[in-house]
Point group: C2
Chain length 230, copies 2
Protein backbone atom coordinates (compact mmCIF):
# COMPACT_ATOMS: atom_id res chain seq x y z
CA UNK A 1 0.00 0.00 0.00
CA UNK A 2 1.17 3.49 -0.83
CA UNK A 3 2.08 5.80 2.00
CA UNK A 4 0.72 9.30 2.11
CA UNK A 5 3.18 12.11 1.54
CA UNK A 6 3.95 14.33 4.46
CA UNK A 7 5.35 17.79 4.20
CA UNK A 8 7.19 18.17 7.51
CA UNK A 9 5.31 21.23 8.61
CA UNK A 10 7.06 24.18 6.97
CA UNK A 11 9.28 26.71 8.74
CA UNK A 12 9.82 25.87 12.44
CA UNK A 13 12.44 27.16 14.81
CA UNK A 14 14.97 24.43 15.60
CA UNK A 15 17.25 24.70 18.55
CA UNK A 16 20.29 22.64 17.74
CA UNK A 17 22.41 21.45 20.64
CA UNK A 18 22.83 17.66 20.87
CA UNK A 19 24.68 17.71 24.21
CA UNK A 20 22.00 19.75 25.93
CA UNK A 21 19.26 17.59 24.46
CA UNK A 22 20.88 14.36 25.62
CA UNK A 23 21.30 15.88 29.06
CA UNK A 24 17.74 17.16 29.21
CA UNK A 25 16.47 13.75 28.19
CA UNK A 26 18.50 11.98 30.87
CA UNK A 27 17.35 14.46 33.49
CA UNK A 28 13.71 14.17 32.51
CA UNK A 29 13.89 10.38 32.28
CA UNK A 30 15.46 10.23 35.73
CA UNK A 31 12.55 12.12 37.18
CA UNK A 32 9.85 10.21 35.35
CA UNK A 33 11.32 6.75 35.97
CA UNK A 34 11.97 7.60 39.62
CA UNK A 35 8.34 8.51 40.01
CA UNK A 36 6.61 5.74 38.10
CA UNK A 37 9.22 3.06 37.43
CA UNK A 38 10.40 1.78 34.06
CA UNK A 39 7.12 0.32 32.92
CA UNK A 40 5.03 3.19 34.21
CA UNK A 41 6.97 5.95 32.48
CA UNK A 42 6.27 6.56 28.80
CA UNK A 43 8.77 7.91 26.33
CA UNK A 44 6.19 10.46 25.28
CA UNK A 45 5.96 11.80 28.83
CA UNK A 46 9.73 11.97 29.06
CA UNK A 47 10.01 13.73 25.74
CA UNK A 48 7.37 16.22 26.84
CA UNK A 49 9.21 17.02 30.07
CA UNK A 50 12.49 17.37 28.19
CA UNK A 51 10.79 19.55 25.58
CA UNK A 52 12.03 17.27 22.84
CA UNK A 53 10.52 15.22 20.05
CA UNK A 54 9.61 11.62 20.80
CA UNK A 55 11.90 10.34 18.09
CA UNK A 56 14.90 11.85 19.86
CA UNK A 57 14.76 9.13 22.50
CA UNK A 58 15.45 6.49 19.91
CA UNK A 59 17.85 8.69 18.02
CA UNK A 60 20.06 9.26 21.07
CA UNK A 61 19.55 6.09 23.09
CA UNK A 62 18.35 3.51 20.60
CA UNK A 63 15.34 2.53 22.66
CA UNK A 64 13.44 3.19 25.86
CA UNK A 65 15.49 0.47 27.52
CA UNK A 66 18.73 2.06 26.37
CA UNK A 67 17.66 5.35 27.88
CA UNK A 68 16.77 3.61 31.12
CA UNK A 69 20.17 1.92 31.35
CA UNK A 70 21.96 5.23 30.92
CA UNK A 71 19.72 6.82 33.54
CA UNK A 72 20.67 4.07 35.99
CA UNK A 73 24.37 4.44 35.23
CA UNK A 74 24.18 8.21 35.64
CA UNK A 75 22.29 7.92 38.91
CA UNK A 76 24.80 5.41 40.22
CA UNK A 77 27.70 7.70 39.28
CA UNK A 78 26.05 10.65 41.00
CA UNK A 79 25.54 8.68 44.20
CA UNK A 80 29.13 7.50 44.25
CA UNK A 81 30.22 11.12 44.05
CA UNK A 82 27.68 12.80 46.31
CA UNK A 83 26.64 10.48 49.14
CA UNK A 84 29.18 9.78 51.88
CA UNK A 85 29.78 6.11 52.67
CA UNK A 86 28.58 4.89 56.04
CA UNK A 87 31.19 4.50 58.78
CA UNK A 88 31.79 0.79 59.23
CA UNK A 89 35.09 0.84 61.08
CA UNK A 90 35.40 1.15 64.85
CA UNK A 91 32.59 0.25 67.20
CA UNK A 92 30.29 -2.35 65.68
CA UNK A 93 27.11 -0.97 67.24
CA UNK A 94 27.92 2.50 65.97
CA UNK A 95 28.65 1.02 62.55
CA UNK A 96 25.19 -0.55 62.50
CA UNK A 97 23.64 2.78 63.38
CA UNK A 98 25.62 4.34 60.55
CA UNK A 99 24.51 1.73 58.06
CA UNK A 100 20.83 2.06 58.93
CA UNK A 101 21.06 5.83 58.63
CA UNK A 102 22.76 5.53 55.26
CA UNK A 103 20.12 3.11 53.97
CA UNK A 104 17.21 5.23 55.14
CA UNK A 105 18.73 8.38 53.66
CA UNK A 106 19.28 6.51 50.43
CA UNK A 107 15.65 5.46 50.24
CA UNK A 108 13.78 8.34 51.82
CA UNK A 109 15.72 11.55 51.28
CA UNK A 110 13.84 13.89 48.97
CA UNK A 111 16.29 16.77 48.56
CA UNK A 112 16.06 18.44 45.18
CA UNK A 113 19.71 17.70 44.52
CA UNK A 114 19.48 14.13 45.82
CA UNK A 115 20.26 11.47 43.24
CA UNK A 116 17.29 9.41 42.16
CA UNK A 117 19.02 6.03 42.41
CA UNK A 118 17.22 5.12 45.61
CA UNK A 119 13.81 5.54 44.10
CA UNK A 120 14.83 3.81 40.88
CA UNK A 121 16.04 0.85 42.89
CA UNK A 122 12.85 0.77 44.91
CA UNK A 123 10.92 0.39 41.66
CA UNK A 124 13.33 -2.31 40.51
CA UNK A 125 12.64 -4.25 43.70
CA UNK A 126 8.91 -4.02 43.14
CA UNK A 127 8.92 -4.72 39.43
CA UNK A 128 12.27 -5.97 38.24
CA UNK A 129 13.49 -5.23 34.75
CA UNK A 130 16.45 -6.73 32.97
CA UNK A 131 18.62 -4.21 34.82
CA UNK A 132 17.96 -5.68 38.27
CA UNK A 133 20.63 -8.37 38.26
CA UNK A 134 23.22 -5.83 37.22
CA UNK A 135 22.02 -3.48 39.94
CA UNK A 136 22.20 -6.21 42.54
CA UNK A 137 25.81 -7.13 41.81
CA UNK A 138 26.87 -3.52 41.33
CA UNK A 139 25.12 -1.75 44.19
CA UNK A 140 22.97 -3.90 46.41
CA UNK A 141 25.14 -6.91 47.10
CA UNK A 142 28.20 -4.92 48.26
CA UNK A 143 26.06 -2.86 50.60
CA UNK A 144 24.25 -5.92 51.87
CA UNK A 145 27.45 -7.83 52.58
CA UNK A 146 28.76 -4.79 54.37
CA UNK A 147 25.70 -4.93 56.59
CA UNK A 148 26.05 -8.66 57.14
CA UNK A 149 29.62 -8.12 58.33
CA UNK A 150 28.49 -5.38 60.70
CA UNK A 151 25.72 -7.61 62.03
CA UNK A 152 28.18 -10.44 62.64
CA UNK A 153 30.47 -8.00 64.43
CA UNK A 154 27.64 -6.77 66.64
CA UNK A 155 26.79 -10.36 67.49
CA UNK A 156 30.45 -10.81 68.39
CA UNK A 157 30.71 -14.39 67.20
CA UNK A 158 27.35 -15.28 68.67
CA UNK A 159 25.73 -15.86 65.29
CA UNK A 160 26.56 -17.99 62.29
CA UNK A 161 26.94 -16.57 58.82
CA UNK A 162 23.50 -17.65 57.70
CA UNK A 163 21.80 -16.22 60.76
CA UNK A 164 23.68 -12.94 60.31
CA UNK A 165 22.51 -12.66 56.74
CA UNK A 166 18.95 -13.45 57.67
CA UNK A 167 19.08 -10.77 60.37
CA UNK A 168 20.53 -8.40 57.80
CA UNK A 169 17.57 -9.06 55.51
CA UNK A 170 15.22 -8.24 58.36
CA UNK A 171 17.04 -4.97 59.04
CA UNK A 172 16.88 -4.01 55.38
CA UNK A 173 13.19 -4.84 55.50
CA UNK A 174 12.62 -2.35 58.29
CA UNK A 175 14.39 0.38 56.32
CA UNK A 176 12.83 -0.05 52.90
CA UNK A 177 9.34 -0.67 54.26
CA UNK A 178 8.78 3.01 54.92
CA UNK A 179 9.31 3.73 51.25
CA UNK A 180 7.95 0.53 49.67
CA UNK A 181 4.69 0.62 51.57
CA UNK A 182 4.59 4.37 51.88
CA UNK A 183 0.96 4.60 50.73
CA UNK A 184 -0.18 2.17 53.39
CA UNK A 185 2.08 3.47 56.13
CA UNK A 186 0.80 6.99 55.59
CA UNK A 187 -2.82 5.87 55.54
CA UNK A 188 -2.17 4.30 58.93
CA UNK A 189 -1.22 7.69 60.31
CA UNK A 190 2.55 7.75 60.12
CA UNK A 191 4.08 10.66 58.27
CA UNK A 192 7.03 9.13 56.41
CA UNK A 193 9.96 11.52 56.86
CA UNK A 194 11.70 13.15 53.91
CA UNK A 195 14.10 15.52 55.64
CA UNK A 196 17.52 14.88 57.13
CA UNK A 197 16.59 15.38 60.78
CA UNK A 198 13.45 13.27 60.79
CA UNK A 199 15.17 10.51 58.86
CA UNK A 200 17.91 10.49 61.48
CA UNK A 201 15.28 10.07 64.20
CA UNK A 202 13.68 7.18 62.36
CA UNK A 203 17.12 5.65 61.83
CA UNK A 204 17.76 5.76 65.54
CA UNK A 205 14.57 3.83 66.22
CA UNK A 206 15.29 1.21 63.57
CA UNK A 207 18.88 0.80 64.75
CA UNK A 208 17.65 0.45 68.32
CA UNK A 209 15.31 -2.37 67.33
CA UNK A 210 18.07 -4.05 65.32
CA UNK A 211 20.62 -3.82 68.12
CA UNK A 212 18.21 -5.07 70.75
CA UNK A 213 17.01 -7.81 68.44
CA UNK A 214 20.53 -9.02 67.73
CA UNK A 215 21.31 -9.02 71.44
CA UNK A 216 18.21 -11.10 72.05
CA UNK A 217 19.11 -13.54 69.29
CA UNK A 218 22.59 -14.00 70.70
CA UNK A 219 21.25 -14.48 74.25
CA UNK A 220 18.74 -17.09 73.21
CA UNK A 221 21.28 -18.87 71.05
CA UNK A 222 18.90 -18.77 68.10
CA UNK A 223 21.64 -17.73 65.74
CA UNK A 224 23.67 -20.89 65.97
CA UNK A 225 21.95 -23.85 64.44
CA UNK A 226 19.79 -22.38 61.68
CA UNK A 227 20.30 -23.79 58.24
CA UNK A 228 17.70 -22.25 56.05
CA UNK A 229 19.87 -20.83 53.31
CA UNK A 230 20.30 -22.97 50.26
Amino acid sequence: MERRRRDGGGAVLRERDPEARRERLLEAAGGVFAETGYGGGSVRAIARVARVNVASVNYYFGSKEGLYREVLLRAHRQVMEAEPEPEVGGDAREALRGWVGYCLRFVLLRRASHPVLGRLMAHEMRQPTVALSELVTLVIRPKFEQLAVVVAAVAGGGMGREASELAAHQIVGMCVHFDHSREVVERLGYRVPGGEVEIAELAESVAEMALGGLAGMVRSGKGRTKRIFK
Copy 2:
Protein backbone atom coordinates in the same frame (compact mmCIF):
# COMPACT_ATOMS: atom_id res chain seq x y z
CA MET B 1 -20.02 7.55 9.18
CA GLU B 2 -21.82 4.29 8.44
CA ARG B 3 -20.75 1.21 10.34
CA ARG B 4 -20.07 -2.02 8.52
CA ARG B 5 -22.44 -4.88 9.08
CA ARG B 6 -21.21 -7.83 11.06
CA ASP B 7 -22.78 -11.27 11.01
CA GLY B 8 -21.88 -12.63 14.44
CA GLY B 9 -20.05 -15.68 13.24
CA GLY B 10 -22.67 -18.25 12.33
CA ALA B 11 -23.24 -21.54 14.17
CA VAL B 12 -20.98 -21.95 17.21
CA LEU B 13 -21.36 -24.15 20.24
CA ARG B 14 -22.42 -22.07 23.22
CA GLU B 15 -22.15 -23.34 26.72
CA ARG B 16 -24.76 -21.52 28.75
CA ASP B 17 -24.19 -21.35 32.49
CA PRO B 18 -23.96 -17.82 33.89
CA GLU B 19 -23.02 -18.88 37.42
CA ALA B 20 -20.14 -21.03 36.27
CA ARG B 21 -18.90 -18.33 33.93
CA ARG B 22 -18.96 -15.69 36.63
CA GLU B 23 -17.13 -18.06 38.93
CA ARG B 24 -14.55 -18.98 36.30
CA LEU B 25 -13.94 -15.30 35.63
CA LEU B 26 -13.46 -14.50 39.32
CA GLU B 27 -11.14 -17.46 39.74
CA ALA B 28 -9.09 -16.56 36.68
CA ALA B 29 -8.96 -12.90 37.62
CA GLY B 30 -7.79 -13.78 41.12
CA GLY B 31 -4.87 -15.71 39.71
CA VAL B 32 -3.92 -13.13 37.11
CA PHE B 33 -4.20 -10.12 39.42
CA ALA B 34 -2.35 -11.93 42.20
CA GLU B 35 0.50 -12.56 39.79
CA THR B 36 0.77 -9.24 38.02
CA GLY B 37 -1.29 -6.73 39.98
CA TYR B 38 -4.29 -4.77 38.76
CA GLY B 39 -2.48 -2.73 36.13
CA GLY B 40 -0.39 -5.63 34.89
CA GLY B 41 -3.25 -8.02 34.26
CA SER B 42 -5.29 -7.57 31.09
CA VAL B 43 -8.91 -8.47 30.68
CA ARG B 44 -8.01 -10.41 27.57
CA ALA B 45 -5.59 -12.58 29.54
CA ILE B 46 -8.24 -13.17 32.19
CA ALA B 47 -10.87 -14.01 29.59
CA ARG B 48 -8.46 -16.45 27.95
CA VAL B 49 -7.74 -18.23 31.23
CA ALA B 50 -11.45 -18.37 32.03
CA ARG B 51 -12.18 -19.64 28.49
CA VAL B 52 -14.68 -16.83 28.03
CA ASN B 53 -15.22 -13.97 25.61
CA VAL B 54 -13.63 -10.62 26.48
CA ALA B 55 -16.97 -8.87 26.48
CA SER B 56 -18.17 -11.13 29.29
CA VAL B 57 -16.00 -9.20 31.74
CA ASN B 58 -17.97 -6.04 31.08
CA TYR B 59 -21.23 -7.92 30.83
CA TYR B 60 -20.86 -9.48 34.27
CA PHE B 61 -18.81 -6.91 36.15
CA GLY B 62 -19.31 -3.65 34.29
CA SER B 63 -15.62 -2.95 33.94
CA LYS B 64 -12.17 -4.25 34.71
CA GLU B 65 -12.26 -2.28 37.94
CA GLY B 66 -15.60 -3.82 38.90
CA LEU B 67 -14.13 -7.27 38.37
CA TYR B 68 -11.14 -6.35 40.48
CA ARG B 69 -13.30 -5.12 43.34
CA GLU B 70 -15.27 -8.36 43.39
CA VAL B 71 -12.05 -10.36 43.32
CA LEU B 72 -10.83 -8.47 46.37
CA LEU B 73 -14.12 -8.99 48.20
CA ARG B 74 -14.10 -12.69 47.37
CA ALA B 75 -10.50 -13.07 48.48
CA HIS B 76 -11.24 -11.28 51.72
CA ARG B 77 -14.22 -13.53 52.37
CA GLN B 78 -12.13 -16.63 51.69
CA VAL B 79 -9.45 -15.52 54.10
CA MET B 80 -11.95 -14.79 56.84
CA GLU B 81 -13.25 -18.33 56.45
CA ALA B 82 -10.03 -20.22 55.89
CA GLU B 83 -7.22 -18.59 57.83
CA PRO B 84 -7.29 -18.86 61.61
CA GLU B 85 -6.87 -15.59 63.52
CA PRO B 86 -3.65 -15.19 65.45
CA GLU B 87 -3.79 -15.77 69.20
CA VAL B 88 -3.55 -12.39 70.87
CA GLY B 89 -4.81 -13.21 74.36
CA GLY B 90 -2.62 -14.55 77.16
CA ASP B 91 1.14 -14.04 77.17
CA ALA B 92 2.12 -10.92 75.25
CA ARG B 93 5.38 -12.32 73.89
CA GLU B 94 3.58 -15.40 72.65
CA ALA B 95 0.95 -13.17 71.09
CA LEU B 96 3.64 -11.30 69.18
CA ARG B 97 5.05 -14.58 67.91
CA GLY B 98 1.55 -15.53 66.81
CA TRP B 99 1.01 -12.26 65.00
CA VAL B 100 4.28 -12.45 63.11
CA GLY B 101 3.56 -16.01 62.07
CA TYR B 102 0.10 -15.02 60.87
CA CYS B 103 1.45 -12.09 58.87
CA LEU B 104 4.17 -14.14 57.23
CA ARG B 105 1.77 -16.95 56.37
CA PHE B 106 -0.58 -14.36 54.92
CA VAL B 107 2.11 -12.93 52.69
CA LEU B 108 4.25 -15.91 51.80
CA LEU B 109 2.11 -19.03 51.84
CA ARG B 110 1.79 -20.50 48.36
CA ARG B 111 -0.50 -23.46 48.93
CA ALA B 112 -2.78 -24.17 45.99
CA SER B 113 -5.82 -23.67 48.17
CA HIS B 114 -4.48 -20.56 49.87
CA PRO B 115 -6.47 -17.39 49.25
CA VAL B 116 -4.79 -14.82 47.06
CA LEU B 117 -5.57 -11.82 49.25
CA GLY B 118 -2.03 -11.60 50.56
CA ARG B 119 -0.53 -11.28 47.13
CA LEU B 120 -3.24 -8.89 45.97
CA MET B 121 -2.53 -6.67 48.95
CA ALA B 122 1.18 -6.79 48.28
CA HIS B 123 0.51 -5.40 44.81
CA GLU B 124 -1.78 -2.75 46.29
CA MET B 125 1.02 -1.63 48.58
CA ARG B 126 3.42 -1.30 45.67
CA GLN B 127 1.00 0.28 43.23
CA PRO B 128 -2.13 1.46 44.94
CA THR B 129 -5.43 1.50 43.08
CA VAL B 130 -8.65 3.13 44.17
CA ALA B 131 -9.30 0.02 46.27
CA LEU B 132 -6.40 0.62 48.64
CA SER B 133 -8.12 2.93 51.09
CA GLU B 134 -10.99 0.49 51.42
CA LEU B 135 -8.52 -2.33 51.94
CA VAL B 136 -6.68 -0.38 54.60
CA THR B 137 -9.75 0.33 56.69
CA LEU B 138 -11.21 -3.13 56.12
CA VAL B 139 -8.21 -5.39 56.53
CA ILE B 140 -4.92 -3.68 57.23
CA ARG B 141 -5.79 -1.18 59.94
CA PRO B 142 -7.52 -3.69 62.23
CA LYS B 143 -4.58 -6.07 61.95
CA PHE B 144 -2.11 -3.28 62.45
CA GLU B 145 -3.83 -1.97 65.55
CA GLN B 146 -3.94 -5.48 66.87
CA LEU B 147 -0.17 -5.62 66.47
CA ALA B 148 0.28 -2.22 68.07
CA VAL B 149 -1.65 -3.41 71.12
CA VAL B 150 0.48 -6.53 71.34
CA VAL B 151 3.64 -4.45 71.03
CA ALA B 152 2.49 -2.14 73.83
CA ALA B 153 1.71 -5.17 75.95
CA VAL B 154 5.16 -6.65 75.35
CA ALA B 155 6.71 -3.33 76.33
CA GLY B 156 4.61 -3.50 79.48
CA GLY B 157 3.98 0.22 79.73
CA GLY B 158 7.55 1.06 78.83
CA MET B 159 6.60 2.62 75.47
CA GLY B 160 4.24 5.38 74.46
CA ARG B 161 1.53 4.86 71.88
CA GLU B 162 3.47 6.54 69.10
CA ALA B 163 6.59 4.54 69.77
CA SER B 164 4.57 1.33 69.86
CA GLU B 165 3.07 2.10 66.49
CA LEU B 166 6.43 2.98 65.01
CA ALA B 167 7.83 -0.31 66.29
CA ALA B 168 4.82 -2.07 64.82
CA HIS B 169 5.59 -0.56 61.43
CA GLN B 170 9.11 -1.85 61.68
CA ILE B 171 7.90 -5.34 62.52
CA VAL B 172 5.50 -5.29 59.57
CA GLY B 173 8.43 -4.17 57.44
CA MET B 174 10.43 -7.23 58.39
CA CYS B 175 7.54 -9.50 57.47
CA VAL B 176 6.50 -8.07 54.13
CA HIS B 177 10.06 -7.47 52.97
CA PHE B 178 10.54 -11.12 52.08
CA ASP B 179 7.66 -10.89 49.67
CA HIS B 180 7.95 -7.29 48.47
CA SER B 181 11.63 -7.53 47.67
CA ARG B 182 11.55 -11.20 46.84
CA GLU B 183 13.46 -10.77 43.60
CA VAL B 184 16.32 -9.00 45.33
CA VAL B 185 16.30 -11.19 48.42
CA GLU B 186 16.55 -14.29 46.29
CA ARG B 187 19.31 -12.85 44.15
CA LEU B 188 21.21 -12.27 47.38
CA GLY B 189 21.11 -15.97 48.13
CA TYR B 190 18.13 -16.37 50.43
CA ARG B 191 15.48 -18.84 49.38
CA VAL B 192 12.21 -17.19 50.39
CA PRO B 193 10.07 -19.89 51.99
CA GLY B 194 6.66 -20.86 50.63
CA GLY B 195 5.78 -23.83 52.83
CA GLU B 196 4.29 -23.95 56.31
CA VAL B 197 7.33 -25.28 58.13
CA GLU B 198 9.89 -22.95 56.63
CA ILE B 199 7.61 -19.97 57.13
CA ALA B 200 7.29 -20.91 60.80
CA GLU B 201 11.09 -20.96 61.08
CA LEU B 202 11.37 -17.54 59.49
CA ALA B 203 8.62 -16.28 61.77
CA GLU B 204 10.59 -17.41 64.78
CA SER B 205 13.59 -15.40 63.66
CA VAL B 206 11.56 -12.27 62.96
CA ALA B 207 9.70 -12.55 66.25
CA GLU B 208 12.99 -13.02 68.06
CA MET B 209 14.36 -9.81 66.59
CA ALA B 210 11.16 -7.96 67.41
CA LEU B 211 11.07 -9.15 70.99
CA GLY B 212 14.74 -8.40 71.59
CA GLY B 213 14.38 -5.04 69.89
CA LEU B 214 11.40 -4.06 72.00
CA ALA B 215 13.27 -5.10 75.14
CA GLY B 216 16.19 -2.94 74.09
CA MET B 217 13.92 0.02 73.36
CA VAL B 218 12.31 -0.26 76.77
CA ARG B 219 15.70 -0.58 78.52
CA SER B 220 17.16 2.46 76.80
CA GLY B 221 14.02 4.48 77.42
CA LYS B 222 13.86 5.35 73.73
CA GLY B 223 10.17 4.70 73.59
CA ARG B 224 9.14 7.48 75.95
CA THR B 225 9.77 10.87 74.43
CA LYS B 226 9.38 10.35 70.69
CA ARG B 227 6.86 12.59 68.99
CA ILE B 228 7.18 12.01 65.30
CA PHE B 229 3.65 11.10 64.42
CA LYS B 230 1.54 13.89 63.10
